[in-house]
């Protein structure tokens, strides 16, 4: 029974990450992404997935999907029904699973963040219903596989496991919230292990939406730069395997890092615009630090939400500067959206894995196109590839609708 519990709330357990999978336009897997982020490579190119000839922006960070998916327990029929988003999700989940060394199991929670789920099915359904209304072929399949919980079920089937699925859709904070929610399930004894992450694929409707809002850069995505003119979209997925420290130690697992803090709150200022002084951002950063038992002085790197839009970056810069106080002057901050674009529902999860990379391999991901800081930035923006001592890293994610989320990771050594 989920309620009532038969035992009192246990003392919070320590939660570690023993598997991480990632796929972005920089490549598939930890290694190729780590190399790309460390070098500050950018992955933008003309959009080929749909027509953007009538859009202001023409570039995005598209993923080159592999010709074949890894062998899984999915049936041929299930595999044939994986769209682009589900394929990205599956690829990252398989990598995380393999790295974790887990065996198929029952009652394994899967917590995912997404904004669009199987939107490609939704778009195809709509087009056919509008343009060929008397044609019904494929429509039932599209109506089912459009739904993100169906894609999530396929991930568990692929891994030979079963368990409760939670889909968090707090827009672009979804990936962080998913990891945070899984962390809470484990921390408070509802599960010993969980799989969590985020995914989203590029699609015409979402691209048009951001273009219509004039939120897309028509030049280069330059988060925190005074001359920034918008965000760039990308696609991808990241999945992590979380478990109690006790469980990881018991089985002698390789620990990639420890998730020590999570904060989440909702900014009620506006549907799409953050509070100008980043009040909620400040609140969630403080919340996460309080739970983690750390102060801003303990943080060695901030992976900012940093979309590259005028409003987001000034608000976040204000909040980070306020939160860090005098420590801001020496606190390295960067936004990896400069390399791979904004991955929406996947962003928080991908950026969590980037933090794990920085902690494991002791480097900071730079923004090579960054030139002149926004006046609100009282911190150095990492703009050159560099090795660094990183013991604790913090990642921010914010979404349309106002949900702000912060996660904090500690190096495991």
């Amino acid at each position: 029974m989920l309620f009532p519990s038969t035992s009192p709330l246990p003392a919070p357990a320590r939660v570690v990450i023993t598997g991480a999978g990632i796929i972005t336009a920089l490549g598939q897997g930890w290694k190729s992404n780590a190399e790309g982020f460390r070098a500050g490579r950018t992955a933008f190119r003309p959009v080929s997935l749909f027509d953007v000839s009538r859009q202001r922006a023409k570039l995005a960070a598209e993923v080159d999907l592999p010709a074949a998916l890894p062998p899984t327990r999915l049936t041929a029929k299930q595999t044939a029904r994986l769209d682009r988003a589900a394929s990205l999700l599956l690829l990252s989940a398989c990598e995380a699973w393999q790295q974790s060394g887990w065996e198929p199991t029952e009652n394994l929670p899967l917590v995912l963040g997404t904004t669009a789920g199987g939107m490609s099915f939704g778009e195809a359904y709509f087009r056919q219903a509008l343009q060929k209304p008397r044609r019904h072929r494929h429509q039932p399949t599209r109506a089912v596989h459009y739904q993100p919980q169906v894609q999530a079920r396929m991930v568990l089937d692929a891994l030979g496991s079963n368990g409760p699925i939670t889909i968090v859709s707090n827009a672009c904070a979804s990936g962080s919230n998913a990891i945070g929610h899984a962390w809470e399930l484990i921390r408070y004894g509802q599960a010993e292990r969980a799989v969590a992450g985020g995914y989203d694929a590029l699609c015409g409707m979402v691209f048009s939406g951001f273009d219509a809002l004039q939120a897309l850069s028509t030049t280069i995505c330059r988060p925190f730069d005074a001359r920034r003119d918008g965000l760039a979209l990308g696609e991808g997925a990241a999945v992590v395997a979380l478990e109690t420290l006790e469980s990881a130690r018991r089985r002698g697992a390789v620990i990639l890092g420890e998730l020590i803090g999570y904060g989440s709150a909702i900014d009620q200022h506006h549907l799409t615009q953050p509070h100008p002084q980043g009040e909620t951002t400040l609140k969630v950063m403080k919340q996460a630090c309080a739970i983690a038992g750390v102060t801003p002085e303990d943080i060695d790197y901030v992976n900012a939400h940093g979309t590259g839009t005028v409003l987001n970056d000034s608000s976040e810069a204000f909040a980070i500067s306020q939160w860090a106080g005098p420590h801001a002057a020496t606190l390295p901050v960067s936004s990896t959206k400069a390399s791979i674009g904004h991955l929406l529902g996947a962003a928080g999860a991908v950026e969590a894995v980037i933090c794990l990379m920085a902690l494991r391999e002791q480097w900071l991901p730079p923004e090579l196109a960054f030139e002149n800081p926004d006046p609100a930035c009282h911190f150095p923006v990492v703009h050159q590839s560099q090795d660094a001592r990183v013991k604790i890293a913090l990642s921010n994610s914010f979404g349309f609708g106002g949900v702000n989320a912060t996660v904090i990771f500690r190096r495991w050594a």
Partner: protein, 372 residues
Amino acid sequence: MSRIFVAGLGAVSPAGWKVTALREALAQDEPLPTQTVERPGGEEPLRARLVPNPAVRPEFLAHPRLRRASPITHYVVAAALEAMAGLLAKADAKRRLGLVVCLQCGCVNYSCRFFEETLKDPATASPLLFPETVFAAPTSHVAAFLGNVSLANSLVGDPATFLQGVSLGVQWLEENRVDACLVIGAEETNWILADALWHLERPAVLTAGAGAVTLCRDPELSMGLELAAITDVHSYSQRNTRMQAARAMREQLRAPGQTEKIAGRMSALPVNAELLCDGVGNCPRTDAPELAAWRDWTGPRLSPKRILGEGLMAAAAWQCVAACDAVAGGQFTAANVSLVGSNQQAMGARFVRTDSSISHLSPGRSPGNIRP
């Protein structure tokens, strides 16, 4: 062991804009009339049960955040305000409110309008529409309207997700992160959703609206009932069919009074004092697992979908609201809610009267389409 009380209920449904309208429609025990939804291309129109316009324009529509919001947001805010009425009457500036909004399809009206504009010419697609298409939009608007929301989540899934939302609210309350939590399930209708349902379930009639339940730990705020149990999540998979999941959920809710015994608060209840509020509609194929799981149920039974239609996440919320309302009204000491979702999971819950005495039916609180 903590106790979680129900502090308020809210509903917007094809029956109207209050819980009383829902209650009266269920009491009539007659399916509500249907309306037609036109499809493009000359295809035969589809049937749906639309939410009627409110008799009086709600005051909340004057709020700047709600002027351009989609119908689903209006339903969510109306249900939220009704479910929060008790708490708002006992205003406490320090009260921290949690908000969980559960959706299966979400903001389909603006999504379709925006995508249609994009297909015509993306260069002229309206920037006003796009932000309203995201799943999180209704959550954002109701949070802005209520003002004291400290924690919020939008969950997407099949209708049993509503009880995941309740479970999340309970978790936040137990961890003392909020003082009350509003859990809402909502949907809106349009032609594409009616078309999709037609492709999947021909006999089903699409409907829309919202249902809301406010949870709290303070017995002073309770409306006289509490949450006694939420089952585990019984997920569907290659190895666990919908039929098996439904049966497992039912098993967890089997023994009358069992959960109260666990809580050590009440003795076993007589079966006839319990209600089953199920999700059975008029779709034999879809309903079969749930009917099979509850085949041995001999007590009274309430099936809101038979009257209201297929409201997806809103229908799941109405089940909880109707069950709680029946218990709060004194007709039953307990009510079981059975949610056998379409493609994800089966979950169940049980609500009981805080006071174990059974009062008799009072005028105006007739039992709805409850079948012995």
